[in-house]
């Protein structure tokens, strides 16, 4: 890598103009990187601050006066944690369904000798280009299948993404045919080949696609808004939207001692709710980053 860079950029390494351009590029990149993380740091810091400090200090990351009132409130209220639990359930089961449907579809479509392959492949291409739209789907899910107020309304409509399925299919196609032929000679049937050869050899792509699906489930809110009205089934994104955008003040039943401030910390509670909803995804981010990057690369290979 380093050697290549030298070849690419090394011809006027020390000219003043080139140095100036380099400095500008570094500054632009640094500003972009800071812009992407500073809002999170601010919200995180402010969630531990007192109401007065949030109002008075324009921008800070470390609060002068440390307070966990906001988190006390969240814990007591319980809605956010109920939301986290529901989101976890939706994400885990939803991703399992996604992977089952996508892999079982991808393997037959990856076999060139499959009779009728073009027909099934065209079925997939059509759904990528055209669909019935929101209203017919809504009528189907709400009135025909009667899935309102069940998590099935969040799992089934997006059970497969054609795009992700094709990523897996392309990966299966890239696995050398000799492995499959050897298994067949040893008397393996298609199911055995799929489970024992194809899936174990596809670790990276399966990890990447599961993560695509899981992040999608975790971050989705529109389906839950349309189909779920039961407050006990709220997912975390819905809780967050309700607290930030829909509720003005925070309810106070007088059971918590707020200290000298004397009232529930509305602003800090908003900050703290944002933190609790964001932390799970940021906590796994360092681990999933490389799979995500790899997944985008795999997806960019056409087939």
């Amino acid at each position: 890598m380093a050697k290549k860079d030298k070849v690419v950029n090394g011809f006027n390494h020390r000219s003043p103009g080139d140095m100036a351009i380099q400095v500008v590029l570094y500054i632009i990149t640094a500003i972009a990187a800071l812009l992407c993380v500073l809002p999170f740091l601010y919200i995180f810091g402010a969630s531990f601050a007192t109401e007065r400090e949030i109002l008075e200090r324009p921008f800070f990351i470390i609060p002068r006066e440390f307070s966990i009132n906001a988190y006390t409130y969240i814990l007591k209220d319980g809605a956010v944690f109920k939301g986290l639990r529901n989101s976890l359930l939706v994400t885990v089961v939803g991703t399992a369904i996604n992977m089952f449907v996508s892999c079982t579809m991808a393997y037959p479509l990856s076999r060139k000798y499959l009779k009728g392959r073009n027909f099934f492949m065209n079925m997939v291409v059509v759904i990528m280009l055209f669909g019935g739209g929101m209203v017919p789907s809504y009528v189907l899910i709400a009135s025909v299948l009667k899935l309102r107020n069940t998590f099935w309304a969040l799992w089934l409509p997006g059970a497969m993404s054609a795009f992700n399925m094709i990523i897996i299919k392309n990966y299966f196609q890239g696995i050398p045919d000799e492995l499959e032929e050897a298994a067949i000679i040893d008397g393996a049937n298609d199911l055995y080949t799929f489970l024992r050869i194809m899936l174990p050899l596809s670790g990276p792509v399966l990890a990447a696609v599961s993560l695509f699906y899981a992040v999608g489930h975790w971050n989705a809110y529109f389906g839950a808004m349309m189909y779920i009205t039961d407050p006990n089934m709220e997912v975390v994104q819905i809780v967050l939207r309700r607290i930030i955008f829909l509720t003005g003040a925070i309810a106070d039943d007088g059971s918590i001692n707020w200290g000298p401030a004397g009232s529930p910390p509305t602003k800090a509670v908003r900050m703290a709710t944002t933190v609790v909803a964001t932390v799970p995804i940021l906590a796994v981010y360092p681990f999933i980053q490389k799979y995500f990057t790899a997944g985008v690369m795999v997806g960019s290979v056409k087939g």
Binding site: A33, P58, R111, M134, S143, I244, I281
Partner: protein, 329 residues
């Protein structure tokens, strides 16, 4: 599952089976597991993708959920109005507003949010300090992973007129009277949406261009340099042609989605005050169809949008092929 869409799609298989019974029988016997594995995906597509396409007949009738005992009876028995719903849609006062808002947001996205990752990838590609590059990349990918609700939340916390940090900062620089309330000012809505997109997706969008940049042959640079090319010449004549294919593919997808502004983000940021700028086709379909129960009008609006999108993506692909690019397929 008795819609016409599903039935016509099943037909070709049935016909083929009869004609070539032997080979199909052989294929099924030999690879029964493969066909069994296809069942979940195919059944899912039929129910959740093709069945709603059958529901598009709603756009051509005055659909009433009370016209029959079950949904199919309702679809069949509802009064047929031909293209009446489309006439209603096109002649209505809403239509020009929808078109203006939708295209305004889409073109702003196309002009600003589309080139941004390309430019940023070119910048990252020029950086020589590898650890700095890697750390920056880790940071700029983060916003992609958080939900649009959290992006909206951060926007709210930073721009609200009471304690928003950026609002206060702007107010102290140019005065409160000159500082717009970006969260509710209709004039700011396009900027708000594009700004959020820029912040959320620019960093992550670089991945695909960086991988394209990495595959440009280093020998081309050397050859160009021997011919006396400078930094800008290299970028213009070697780097950009090298990633042109990727740019064209991404552009086709963007053009095909010109009427899909998406509803999650816009629905979240819309409120009573900026409604006049925030109503786009996607939110209109939701508000009219799902919230107010005007199924037929909303389906017609959705169908109009889908057909235009389909025509645009096929057209853009055709253009790309005429220009000698490989296109989407």
């Amino acid at each position: 599952m008795s819609t016409s869409a599903a039935a016509t799609l099943e037909k070709p298989v049935a016909v083929k089976k009869k004609k070539t019974g032997n080979t199909w029988g052989k294929a099924l016997r030999q690879h029964y597991w493969l066909y069994l594995m296809l069942i979940p995906g195919v059944v899912w597509m039929l129910i959740f993708c093709y069945l709603p396409m059958g529901g598009l007949v709603m756009a051509f009738e005055n659909f009433s959920p009370y016209a029959g005992a079950n949904i199919i009876e309702c679809l069949v028995k509802s009064q047929k109005v031909g293209f009446g719903n489309f006439q209603l849609l096109f002649k209505g006062t809403d239509f020009m507003m929808l078109l203006r808002n939708t295209l305004g947001i889409s073109f702003a996205n196309l002009l600003i949010a589309f080139p941004a990752p390309i430019i940023f990838a070119l910048i990252l590609n020029e950086l020589r300090c590898m650890w700095f590059k890697r750390v920056s990349q880790t940071f700029v990918y983060i916003p992609h992973f958080v939900s649009i609700v959290i992006v909206g939340t951060l926007t709210f916390q930073l721009f609200n007129t009471q304690d928003g940090y950026i609002y206060n900062l702007m107010a102290s620089l140019v005065g409160k009277a000159n500082t717009p309330d970006v969260l509710s000012d209709p004039d700011c809505f396009v900027g708000l949406i594009v700004g959020q997109n820029l912040w959320k997706e620019t960093g992550y969008g670089t991945i695909i261009y960086l991988s394209a940049l990495a595959s440009v042959d280093p020998q081309l640079y050397e050859a160009a340099k021997i011919d006396g090319a400078g930094r800008w010449n290299l970028m213009w004549h070697v780097t950009l042609p090298g990633i042109k294919g990727t740019i064209v593919i991404m552009l086709i997808m963007k053009v095909g989605a010109l009427l899909n502004t998406g509803y999650e983000q816009i629905f979240l940021m819309a409120n009573a005050i900026n409604r006049s700028a925030a109503e786009v086709f996607d939110t209109y379909v939701y508000n009219r169809g799902v919230s107010q129960g005007q199924y037929s009008l909303a389906t017609a609006a959705g169908l109009f949008k889908s057909v235009v999108s389909l025509v645009m993506v096929l057209g853009a692909n055709k253009c790309a092929k005429l220009l000698g690019e490989s296109g989407l397929y």
